[in-house]
Each structure stands twice: as structure tokens, then as C-alpha cells.
Symmetry: none
Subunit: 181 residues, 4 copies
């Protein structure tokens, strides 16, 4: 009946990008509105506050990752293949949209605590696939190398792009998991 929410998507995308580029606190509503080609008030039609927007994006992205990773977790291949697929998927997710990847994995560790209660949790899914007594710890190791390399690439500490390191990353991850290729 009223206008369709033409700008909602632009607002959320702009926010996501800016949060990753400059940090949540380093991004102003005006920054978001400008990039989205909208006035500042428009944001509040769709989200009650900046904080609300931050959470919404986080929850959405986190759940998105969770769904993808859980789908892989229940494939019928061998355990070892499953792990390799999931690790490759993480790199693939970065390739597809490095902003979402970084928003979920590099930023906002304090939201992580809230969100991991009940939401589809890709970290838990990975740990489950790895199995064994140290699975939580090892899952963190795997995430750690991917995240660190992604950050290093982004900040030009390492040359090229993340995909260039994909095979070596996967090999390293499999080693950490205890199943060398």
C-alpha cells in the first residue's frame, strides 16, 4: 500500500560495508545514509537505533553462515572430506562476500556471545565435524588462520588476495585438524 521499501537494502548494505571498513563506532549514521543515497532519518524507518541495525546485521549474517555450514555438516561424504569441504567453504564465503565474512569473523566479538545462544552456530558446526575432545580448540585454530590471513591480505601485509592462499590455507587447516591431505 505505502511505498515499497526501496532503500532498505541499500541502507543495510552500506552499513555492513562501513562497519567493516571503519568499525561500528567509527561509522556515523550520516556515513551510512550518504553511501546509501538516503537522508539520515530513513534509517529509523527500518531499525530503531544504530545498535539495532548492528545486531540485525550480525544475527542475519551469523545465521546465514550457520545454515550453510550445517548443510555441509550433514553431507554423506567421509568425515575427512566433510571437514575439508567446510574449510573450503569458509574460504569460498570470503571470496563471495568478504564484507559479510569480516563482519562476522573479525568484528564485534562481544555480540558473538549473545548470538551463539540458540542461533545456527557455524563455529559449533565446524567443531562437531572435527570431533574429538579438543574439537572446540581446533575449530578456533582453523578459524584463526583463515581470519588472520584475510586481515593480512586486506591490510596489504600479504600480497594478492585471499583466494591465492586458498590451497595452502586448506592444507594448513587439515594439518591442524590432524588429517593431512
Amino acid at each position: 500500500m505505502g511505498r515499497p521499501p526501496l532503500k532498505k537494502g541499500a541502507i543495510e548494505r552500506s552499513a555492513l560495508e562501513l562497519f567493516v571498513e571503519k568499525g561500528v563506532d567509527g561509522t556515523s549514521i550520516r556515513d551510512i545514509a550518504q553511501r546509501a543515497g538516503v537522508t539520515e532519518g530513513a534509517l529509523y524507518r527500518h531499525h530503531r537505533s544504530k545498535d539495532d541495525l548492528v545486531r540485525h546485521l550480525y544475527l542475519q549474517s551469523f545465521t546465514h553462515f550457520g545454515e550453510i555450514m550445517e548443510a555441509l555438516a550433514s553431507t554423506s561424504t567421509s568425515p575427512s572430506d566433510r571437514i575439508r569441504l567446510m574449510i573450503a567453504q569458509l574460504v569460498e564465503l570470503h571470496a563471495r562476500d568478504s564484507y559479510v565474512f569480516r563482519y562476522v569473523l573479525v568484528l564485534n566479538h562481544h555480540l558473538l556471545k549473545e548470538v551463539r545462544v540458540g542461533e545456527r552456530d557455524f563455529v559449533a558446526a565446524l567443531a562437531r565435524a572435527i570431533g574429538g575432545p579438543s574439537s572446540d580448540f581446533i575449530a578456533q585454530l582453523v578459524l584463526g588462520i583463515i581470519v588472520q590471513v584475510s586481515v593480512a591480505v586486506e591490510s596489504a601485509q600479504l600480497p594478492g588476495k585471499l583466494a591465492d592462499y586458498s590451497p595452502r590455507l586448506i592444507a594448513a587447516a587439515m594439518e591442524l585438524v590432524g588429517k593431512p591431505l
Copy 2:
């Protein structure tokens, strides 16, 4: 000389802690002053601006890390031992002062780029010790697992404290370096 600057230390320490806890942009001068038990103006006696304080702390911490790591790099032990010592030292540095560790390693500073030009660079030192064509990449892997586990511990995603994971972290790092214990 005149009176010693009684509050300078408190200001810098408070700033460091708050920058780690809430991020640089999430920390106000008032926050810092309050934690240091000082008023807002006092900060400007010692630093020209907030940005100046941020840089000063970063440079100081980064150089501190660099000196320690470079000292280890020139010990006379075997290459393999040297690497193990350096990795163990990173974990030890976290144990000694997790705030400095996180300020340097977790806050993904745009400052990192500036500072790595010319300052004593512990990342470069680690890479040199590792050697070989992929040394920069492998150094990032090693940093990645330590950083990630430190963050996971801090945010209670992993139980206990970082030191509890020290042997396993060192073992994993040596594996990444290609020199299993």
C-alpha cells in the same frame, strides 16, 4: 627537574585498557580520565590529542614486542629451537600483559601499516626466523592461531585462560612451521 608526572602512567594505562575493551572510537577522553582518576584536561598535559595518545601507545607496544622478539631471533640455538622460543614468547607476552598483547595484535589498526615501516617489527622477525619462500604467510598463520585462541578465551568461547592452551598452541604452531616437535 620539576615534579614527576604522577598521573601520566595512570592515564596511559587506562587508555590502553579501554582501547582494548571498547575500541579506540568507543572510548572517550572522559572515559580515560575517569578510570585514571583524573580530569579531562590532564590528558592534554602529556599528549597533544587523542590520536597522539593512540599512536604513542601503539608505537611503544609494537616496539616493545619487536625488541623482545628480535633479541630471541639472534640467540645461538638451533633454528628450530629459535622458532619454538619465539612462539612460546608470544604466549608468554600475553600472559604477562594481555592488554598490550591485544592492543598490538587484535585491534586491527590502520596504524599497523605505518608502524611496520621502520619500527622494530616482531612479525618480520618471526618470518625471518621461519625462513623459506612462504615465511611471511606462515608467520601470519602462527599469529592467527594465537590471536584467535586469545580472543576466544577472552570472550569465554573457550574455557580457562590462554596459558592452559600454551603447549597445544606451541605444538600446532610448530606443525604449521613444518617442524613438528
Copy 3:
């Protein structure tokens, strides 16, 4: 004619209530729309602006009061009875709809000044019925005790409801008028 304006009544009633409860400036268009079960735009179908709505309601209520009081003013009973009837009527008007009563009498409108020029003015009607050199002053006294007790009851400073105080209020008012019961 076209369809009847189903929501007009709800909008105006909601506005009236909210203006009394939170003040005109403390009430937003959104507040009104929400209580009326309508969206913000709907209001502008019936009134050109918020200010227009405020005036319309005020004028309507003020005139309504004026008509009732003037009708009483021209009854054929004795002067003393006439006054008593009018005072009783004010209390009765509060009982019938305390929102309208308070909108007209408690919100000390700058509008009052405008509206009293030319509209059916119940304050003037009351003063005329009282008569004598101080009639305007005495009319204010009478209004004052009714308004004050109504506010005190509404804010629970006095127990019960206004009607409980009706006989005593009328007696007090007659005393002020100089015609004790």
C-alpha cells in the same frame, strides 16, 4: 456521498486524549496515529496540520461548552438557581467527559485568547450570570476550585473522583458567589 470517514473520529479522539495526557508538544503525530490504529499519513486526510487539529479540537470543545452554558444562562429560574445550575453543570461536564473538560480548562492554552474573541464563551456566560462589578473575577474563582480539585483528583492527590466532591464544590462555589446555599 462517498464513504464515511471511518477513522476521523478515532483520530480526533486519540489526539484529544493524548493532548490532555502528555500535552500538545509532548504528543507526536505517530502517538496519535498509533492510538487511533491508523498510520501517520491518515491524519492529513482530515486536517492540514497538527496545529490545525489542535485548533479544531479546541474550538469545537470550547464552543460545545459555551452552548451548554449559555442555554442554562437563559433559563427562567431565579438568578441564584441559575448560578447553581451552571456550577453543577461544570461538574457534570467533567463527569461526562473529563478529557474534553481538561482540554478546555486545564491546558492553559495560548489558544484561549484567540478563541474567546467571538466564540460562544462559557466563561463570559458564567460571569454574566453572576453579575456585579467583580463578576469576571468571581467567575475565575469558581473555575479555579473546580479545575484544581479535578487536577488533584486526577493526580491522586485527593482520593476518589471529582463527583465525590460535587456537593461540597457547589457549596463552596455558591459561597464565593456570595449566595450561600
Copy 4:
């Protein structure tokens, strides 16, 4: 040590006046700052929020009134004289500072509820002096005529100023109290 708070008084006075003139919600921080000859931020050095300022002024004024009225309540004159003194004092308080008078008596009835718990309460003091079973009710009548006439004078519905009506107001009040002069 720091600057003395030169502007605090001006800010509070300006706020008080504007709140009375335009209502709390009708008064912006900018309005207050402008009248006080200060920038908007200055207000927040002395009060945490606009609401805080509103409350502070209310509490202060209310208590001020309470102290004065309670002092009169314990004078050694006859009960009848005491009441007359208190009524006269209310009119006098309006003469001395009609803004404070109106801020306490005409505005913000919702704060009244909070404040009357525990603070020096001039309404209660008046009721106590009046005595008898209906003392609370009668106190409201007395307040009602003073408030109403003060508002009528302010909005030019009655000519002159409140003081012009002082003898007649006191006489009317004594009548309501049941002790005609």
C-alpha cells in the same frame, strides 16, 4: 581549581522561565542556551539531561516553598491568623517571583506526585494549618483560586496584576476555610 561555574545560574534561570512561558516540551535546549548566553553543551556540565534539569528545578522550588510555608505553620499566632498568613504568603511568593510560583503550581503535575513523597510539602503544611476532616480538600480550593487568578492575570483574561486581587483573594480563601475575616 577549574573555572568557577559562571553560567550555571543563568542556565537554570533561563530554563525555569522558558519552561513556564512555553512549557517543558515546548522549550528546546537551544532556547535555554540562547537565553543564557551559552552554547548547548554547557548545560550538560551541570545536568545530565533535560529531564534532570526539569526535576532539579522542580525539587528545588518545591522545597523552597515548603520551607517557607512550614516556617509560618509553626508561628505562635492564633490558628486563624496562621492560615491568613500562609494564604498571604502564597500571594507574596507569586509577587516575588511569578516564574517559580507558576513552575511549581501551574506546571508539571506529574512531577508533583514524585516530589510530594518526602520533600517539604507546602500543600500538606497548608492542609495541616487548616485542620479538620476536609483539610486536604479545602487546601486545594485555596490553591485553586490563587492559581486560577494568577493564570487569568498572566493571560490577560483579568486586567492588572495578581497583587491587585490580593485582598479579595485572601478574603475569598478565608471564606473557603470557614473563617471569614
